[in-house]
Symmetry: C2
């Protein structure tokens, strides 16, 4: 059996968003222990013209949500990008997980053979669903999860690859 679309998208996002939630929990505990304002912590950036931690998290959430929506055709809820602290970011992740878990596996599998349409830089584009998932949605998602990890790590939060990969490492 080759890979199923559901396994390679929805299941991956559910697993990785759970790991992201646990990483943010460690960030929140670190901020608390050092009496750092969580809003300051969630506003940290790797460099001035990269997104702050809060928007890395919400962009990761939207990458996952939109991938499942575009593959399945099941409309996704809109979420304003207004989260400012760890509590609000955890809520954004929870809402994203609720949506992904609500999409039937069969709807995601129906992606096979159907083109994915989206706008990139204002231009409409069409992709084969395989290319969309493997060359756009997944790398984009991991980009924002890893950058979240990197911001926290570069600012002193103790994290390891085990936090990023999660339970598969046992």
């Amino acid at each position: 059996m080759p890979l199923s679309f559901y396994q390679a998208s929805a299941q991956v996002f559910v697993h990785a968003l759970g790991n992201l939630s646990a990483i943010l929990e460690k960030g929140a505990l670190y901020a608390e222990s050092r009496k750092i304002d969580p809003v300051v912590m969630c506003g940290l950036r790797l460099t001035a013209d990269m997104l702050p931690l809060s928007r890395q998290v919400s962009t990761a959430c939207d990458s996952a949500k939109l991938a499942v929506s575009r593959l399945s055709g099941v409309e996704a809820p809109k979420h304003a990008d207004e989260e400012k602290d760890f509590v609000e970011l955890q809520s954004r992740i929870a809402k994203t997980l609720d949506y992904i878990r609500s999409v039937p596996e069969a709807s995601v599998e129906a992606a096979a053979g159907r083109k994915v349409s989206l706008k990139l830089g204002g231009e409409p584009r069409e992709f084969e669903p395989e290319a969309y998932l493997t060359l756009f949605a997944l790398p984009n998602f991991y980009f924002h999860v890893t950058t979240t990890y990197a911001i926290l790590r570069a600012n002193g939060v103790e994290l390891s690859k085990r936090d990023y990969l999660g339970a598969i490492l046992g």
Copy 2:
């Protein structure tokens, strides 16, 4: 048609390693323009106890190489982690691409239904090939590619999501 193992592994790695090579080329040009020793540039880290850029690149290469090897059963060449500058890192990427391209598609597809065995922290572990690829090999690979990007970006190299995602964005 669901996703094929080849499409979700070898093809992804070839695409993303090409992007990584182009990102490093921009890093090399930046170093040259600022008269920064390439060895210094390749030794940069996001924080003291994370791997330097050179090892982020070689670990990304090994994540890709070992994933294709474990899925296909085709033995991978060993590469010492001794690269110190951009030229040597480009050569490491090229050798990795040579190996991945040499593995027959049918051998990678034969992963389906066969367990993947590896050692994690010295302990032997067995994974279903789907879980191994989607929850371990791919996120681990993107972790090191994104961290390479982050190190260069945080040190002034002009890069955008287009460099990371590559030609799919057109």
